[in-house]
Symmetry: C2
Subunit: 232 residues, 2 copies
Amino acid sequence: MAENPNESSDLERAPEKLGDAAYREMKERIIRGVYRPGHKLTVRAIAQDLDVSTTPARDAINRLASEGALVYAGPKTVVVPVLDAAALREITLTRLALEGLACEQAAQHGTPDNVEELKSLQRLINSALDERRYAEALWHNKEFHFAIYRLSGLPQLVSMIESLWLRIGPSLHNLYPEFAEEKYGVRNHEIAVEALAERDGASLRAAMENDIRDGYRRLKRASLEREAGQSA
Amino acid sequence: MAENPNESSDLERAPEKLGDAAYREMKERIIRGVYRPGHKLTVRAIAQDLDVSTTPARDAINRLASEGALVYAGPKTVVVPVLDAAALREITLTRLALEGLACEQAAQHGTPDNVEELKSLQRLINSALDERRYAEALWHNKEFHFAIYRLSGLPQLVSMIESLWLRIGPSLHNLYPEFAEEKYGVRNHEIAVEALAERDGASLRAAMENDIRDGYRRLKRASLEREAGQSA
DNA sequence: TTCACAATTTTGTTGCAACAAAACTGCAGC
DNA sequence: GCTGCAGTTTTGTTGCAACAAAATTGTGAA
């Protein structure tokens, strides 16, 4: 008679629902920059794009909106957010706290295999930067970060971080031209890899925090320039 | 022709939708312990309880589930989560990071009025504890914490913290009997109030971290006892 | 009692139509 | 050019029915 839900090893795999698929697809489009900041989304348009009915499309939009990846610009208007200075600062502070925590935990679990994987990802970033394939560099950059965060063994934390990346993701695509004047984040990543190899949590955290702050500076500058341009 | 969504002061107030109302109501029930860990929820039952159709009920459940406040115990079974040791640890680590950050930011903005408000909330907690009205004590305890966190001026951070509280909320209601053997969190709260008055961010953070860790210890003990009881 | 298994009931998902409300368009009037 | 405003179109929300699939119940055998 006793109910006994979710034991420790609860790995039931539900068949993916249409709404989930729509959600994943939209998430990827947002990260990859298909939908740029300011882009307006409608239920019916998404439904048509993804070839599903309005219900799953609406589910996906609502879910993204509740995560902050989309915002309401009006009662019936959902857009990809354009981050202002305050929002940018808030996200960055939160990222520092959460990604910092993930780094410290990750350092305790890193193996030589993980170190190799990171080096390999970094090579992909480097060559993408060299060939000015910025979108691809951004993508591998994300993989690099999350390869580390996943080592923390804290899956819920990783998804919280993911939702933060979803918020800044679109804005990153506005940094393209000046993006690789100096190789974006390369040095920080190198230090991070070393720190992970040495299982030095504090150093890993510091390197990644540095990386986050560097990105923040660039975004803030771009944001200020945009605001100045608008009011002028 | 240029779109110009979400300016700095974007305070458009949309009339509340049924789905949002359902979401709020369920959130409150979860925090207040109406739905206990293990409680199974169905779309139609919720719809009937809240007197709406299935669509808003389903919206609310899905949203709560995507926040982690509800979990899938099977493909068609949504329950209030029963936290195991690992989940408890993960949430606590995240809480320390996020609530710690909120404290540090809050300390920079505290006013004498805020200090008075906190003292008043603490009085409510005290008398509720004295009269063994635990659910009420828990409620005011939440208000105390969030009164501080809101001072951070970081609204998105506050909602992230809220979703974490939603996850542990139900479990707290299992601590009732031994809950006030020693006054729960009172000393830490007193220190926190002083720290806020002095705008001492580090102390405020330390006091609240202490509070979080104390709650963690109790929950962990209860969780271990429960697991031992189950397998025996 | 315990287990297996089939019949039955309950459940979530999906698609869709109706409705009210918001967004948009175009046109005067300044 | 810009502003204000009506008419028109588009939009999100809601309720609901159908369907497939999962959960539950009941039955019988070991």
